[in-house]
């Protein structure tokens, strides 16, 4: 070796490399979100398991399946999940198909209408469906003379499919748009007709999307509480049973057991869904699509279009019903115009609930956004072996049914948590605690919003080459400065999407917070539950309208504050997310 040894060299000894000190900003930045997840997610779940193990509850668990009623409830829950999963994927595919494969009028409008249910307050769809299609419904009975019993499995399936399919639709739409037209051209070049192409090329490539969509809908369906409460009739599912066990019988033990029954399939399906959607889809690998998409020709394009238009009409009718219901005495029975409902909800408790909800959601959303971005940064860039665990933990907030999480919060935060006699965590759920329980609700909002931010953040970061951040480091910036000056601006579109989703979710969430409301902290969705319970659909509809307006206004503000301007620059090389308020495909897939 030709060495030009300097004088110094021989005195330089080889020493063990010193572990470089990470900046405090990063340490803290990493510690905070993870501990929030530990306290707000893992610990409550742990408490459920512990509760099930206690002497009083354990026998109930072991005897659980010996009761016909319980077996049936579990079966109902799974049945509902499967049906919603199946039909939801069918509807979602139909819409994506119309958007990408058909040259038909009004596609943009169909797209927008299909996204409407993303902002659907709980009960809105279900109560509207009762008004429209109930035994004495405006459309079914009064117009068509059908007295079909909408309560039960079929009604639930309809309502849940309508409420949850948009997310899967977004996911499939993204996949189909990225589908390289060259593949279709290649198939045609080899002699395949348009149906053969669909059957042999398009559909097989979408299988991961179908699977992940199905599982996603399955989890949403078995977790839903609001719809089974109103529309379930005698069709009992686990989430409503758990709710009744707690609120009606105050049987926390049974509540915990039912939660466990719900958590097991939900979490396993959630895991499966992640495995499927994490596997790199063949569709995304192709890189730059070449050629232009070819539309389906001939008569074949009309049937899917007609079905799509029909579903859109249904969605519009439902939303129109919500609005009309807010301004009529009893829609369908007494259609006289009235402002009573509006007056009622804006007076007293109603407006308190509005502002409590808005305030908490407004606090939780930006924090969730920030935590989500930090978490996704850690997951994509900073973590080694613990990456998978943190990733899973940060997504778990939506994998766990809301009812379960609510019950878990109840078990965990009602009383101070003591460790060896020392209070490590004061009680913060319930009216008698500091800030009268709003901390628990805020934490719940946070936990439920973080996944949206993480998913979109991870999606965005994976598309930004790490060297861009390294360049910043190399130019003297600390990790914190890099995160603030380079990473955040680059993932801004993802941040918007995460914030929007998180906010919409916080505003419309019911099942996890229904156990946590207190006299001084009221939440709109639980007020809606009260109104629906009391049969005052008009008030409920009015609340729903306000909720929709709130969400729309805040989403607009989020765009104004966080968005645009800077987006222009990012779009060409790094913009991983379309500039829409709606989720990006990769975001959507996980929510």
């Amino acid at each position: 070796m030709a060495q030009r040894t300097s004088v110094l060299v021989d005195s330089l000894e080889v020493v063990a490399p010193t572990k470089r000190k990470r900046s405090w900003g990063l340490r803290l930045g990493g510690l905070v979100p993870v501990s929030v997840l530990l306290v707000g997610l893992l610990f409550p779940l742990f408490r459920i398991f512990v509760h099930v193990l206690d002497d009083e509850t354990w026998p109930k668990l072991t005897g659980f399946f010996s009761q016909e009623v319980n077996r049936q409830t579990v079966f109902h829950t799974m049945e509902l999940g499967v049906l919603v999963g199946f039909f939801g994927v069918v509807v979602a595919f139909l819409f994506a198909y119309v958007q990408t494969q058909l040259d038909v009028p009004g596609k943009r409008i169909l797209h927008l209408i299909a996204l409407l249910p993303i902002v659907s307050p709980p009960f809105a769809v279900a109560t509207a469906v009762i008004v429209l299609f109930g035994r004495n419904g405006m459309l079914s009975s009064q117009l068509l003379g059908i007295t079909h019993d909408i309560y039960g499995l079929d009604g639930l399936t309809l309502v849940l499919v309508l409420s949850f399919f948009p997310v899967v639709y977004m996911n499939l739409l993204g996949m189909m748009q990225r589908l390289d037209p060259a593949l279709v051209e290649a198939a045609k070049n080899l002699g395949a007709g348009q149906f053969t192409v669909l059957r042999t090329v398009t559909l097989p490539l979408l299988v991961p999307g179908f699977a992940s969509g199905f599982l996603l809908l399955f989890v949403e369906a078995i977790a839903d509480l609001a719809n089974p409460l109103v529309l379930g009739g005698n069709y009992t599912v686990l989430s409503s049973r758990a709710y009744i066990a707690i609120t009606g019988e105050y049987d926390l033990g049974t509540g915990a057991i039912l939660s466990l029954m719900l958590v097991v399939p939900a979490l396993s399906v959630f895991l499966l869904q992640r495995v499927i959607s994490n596997r790199k889809s063949v569709v995304t690998v192709t890189g730059k699509p070449s050629g232009s998409p070819q539309y389906l020709t001939g008569w074949a394009k009309w049937p899917p279009y007609v079905v799509g238009v029909a579903i859109c009409t249904l969605i519009v009718t439902i939303y129109a019903t919500v609005i009309a219901g807010a301004f009529t005495r009893v829609l369908g029975v007494n259609n006289e115009f009235t402002l009573d409902h509006a007056r009622y909800i804006f007076s007293g408790v109603g407006s308190e609930a509005m502002f409590d909800t808005l305030r908490l959601a407004l606090i939780a959303t930006p924090i969730a956004g920030l935590l989500g971005m930090v978490l996704s940064w850690m997951i994509v860039r900073k973590l080694g072996r613990s990456r998978g665990a943190v990733d899973f933990l940060s997504m778990m907030g939506i994998g766990i049914p809301g009812t379960v999480l609510g019950i878990a919060f109840l078990l965990s935060f009602r009383n101070p948590t003591k460790l060896f006699g020392v209070t490590v965590l004061p009680a913060f759920a319930g009216g008698s605690t500091f800030l009268s329980g709003s901390l628990a609700i805020g934490l719940m909002f946070l936990i439920r919003s973080v996944p949206a931010s993480v998913r979109s953040g991870v999606g965005a970061l994976q598309q930004i080459h790490p060297s861009i951040e390294e360049a910043s480091t190399s130019l003297g910036a600390t990790d914190t400065v890099t995160f603030r000056r380079v990473t955040i601006p680059l993932i801004r579109p993802a941040l918007i999407s995460g914030l929007s989703f998180g906010f919409a979710r916080s505003m419309t969430t019911l099942s996890p917070i229904v156990f946590l409301v207190t006299p001084d902290t009221k939440i709109m969705t639980s007020q809606i539950l009260g109104e629906v319970d009391g049969g005052r659909f008009g008030n409920a509809f009015a609340f729903c309208c306000v909720l929709i307006v709130f969400v729309a206004v805040v989403l607009g503000l989020i765009r104004l504050i966080v968005g645009d301007g800077a987006l222009r620059r990012t779009k060409k090389r790094t913009s991983p997310t379309p500039k829409k308020l709606v989720p990006t495909p990769q975001t959507a897939g996980q929510i």
Partner: protein, 399 residues
């Protein structure tokens, strides 16, 4: 530049949000405590409850003689205590949302005590009281059937308070131990939709047997006793009407094919009947009247001739309540005629327990109804077991 906007925006949102949180507490602290006028409200306490007793006699009820021992301490006792001056009161409210709102608002206006409430079913109330026993989040429980209060009392969740104003309330409408005091009477009845009845070719039901008719198949609804006090009142009523728990369970078993749905909430069947989803629902008659007033105009109330049950809407003080003086003040006030005349303004037509309160002419006339002698002690004691039986043998029975 753009990189700067984000943190600023975050900070702005956070600051706004935090200041929003801070506002209510700040403003409530500034409120002055208005001197309570509980004494004035108690002036009527000397009067007898003769009027009400007469009315009830007409309703063929055999009331026990009102024990004088429960008559209250001098009114001054209550007033002196209030000088401690709680600024805040939290009510667990078992009636409908607007009822709760109207009453708490009126009290707040009168007393200057910031009064908040949360609407809870009786099961939920017992649950939450139990959960926060060591650190109660409520001070008063107002509304909802008295059996719930009995349960709470036995579990040590509420404590006796004999209001000076309770003297005027007939003895049968209050706990002998002073654990709770009744504020209203609600009579269980059928809530039917006349046009739906016409469709199924049935007349307005006037007996428990009538609704067993196949005409009512899938046309009847009631709430589930495990979640609703209303349903439990019905369940216990049948126990008394038919003489045994077994007979009552058998009755509900045979009613089961007609039941379209067991609802979570006690009043939902009335709403369903009002919409024409079903012909008849079993609910408290005053709730049915409320629905009719609110626009479900086809509704009509009827009562079973065999005799029907009723609820006494309770009022009690939470054990170890944080704001005890305010709680007592509230209870004193809620028993006055003035307070008991508020519900009709929000279309709630229960019968007030205070004989001096004006009874709305829309309220059910007790003289028109055959009431059973509802044994709330026994009802309360049997509740847990009977509800479980219903759950196991009737409601969840697959059809």
């Amino acid at each position: 530049m753009s990189a700067r906007i984000l943190p600023i925006a975050f900070t702005a949102v956070l600051v706004t949000a935090v200041s929003l949180t801070a506002i209510p507490s700040a403003s409530s602290a500034q409120k002055k405590v208005v001197t309570p006028k509980a004494g004035a409200a108690c002036k009527k306490s000397g009067q007898t409850s003769a009027g009400l007793v007469c009315a009830l006699d007409a309703g063929k009820l055999k009331w026990q003689a009102a024990p004088t021992s429960t008559v209250a301490a001098p009114t001054t006792a209550a007033t002196t205590k209030e000088e401690g001056g709680d600024k805040k009161l939290v009510v667990a409210c078992g009636a409908q949302e607007d009822w709760c709102q109207a009453l708490t608002k009126a009290f707040e206006k009168k007393s200057g005590i910031k009064t908040s409430f949360v609407r809870l079913s009786s099961g939920e109330t017992v649950a939450r009281l139990g959960a926060s026993k060591s650190n109660p989040e409520f001070d008063v429980w107002h509304g909802g059937p008295s059996d719930g209060f009995e349960v709470a009392g036995r579990n040590g969740l509420i404590e006796p308070y004999v209001s000076p104003n309770a003297a005027v309330i007939p003895a049968s409408y209050k706990s002998p131990t002073g654990m709770w005091t009744g504020v209203y009477i609600g009579v269980l009845g059928f809530c039917s939709n006349t046009s739906t009845l016409r469709k199924i070719n049935a007349s307005i039901p006037r007996s428990w047997n009538e609704i067993l008719s196949p005409k009512f198949k899938g046309q009847f609804a009631m709430s589930h006793p495990s979640t609703s006090g209303t349903a439990y009142t019905a369940l216990w009523t049948m126990t008394q009407v038919y003489g045994s728990e077994d007979a009552a369970i058998d009755y509900f078993k045979s009613l089961n094919p007609n039941v379209f749905q067991y609802t979570k909430s006690g009043i939902t069947p009335g709403q369903m009947a009002g919409r024409g989803e079903i012909a008849t629902g079993l609910i408290f008659s005053h709730d049915c009247l409320k629905f009719r007033e609110e626009g479900l105009s086809d509704l009509v109330v009827s009562f079973p001739g065999e005799g029907t049950g009723y609820e006494i809407g309770g009022l009690g003080m939470i054990k170890n309540a944080k704001n005890q003086s305010a709680a007592k003040q509230y209870i004193d006030w809620a028993l006055t005629a003035e307070a008991q005349e508020i519900p009709p303004t929000v279309r709630s037509y229960q019968i007030p327990t205070n004989p001096n309160a004006k009874v709305s002419d829309r309220a059910v006339k007790l003289s028109d109804v055959k009431l059973i002698n509802y044994d709330d002690q026994k009802a309360g004691a049997a509740k847990s077991a009977l509800t479980k039986r219903f759950d196991a043998e009737v409601a969840n029975a697959p059809r």
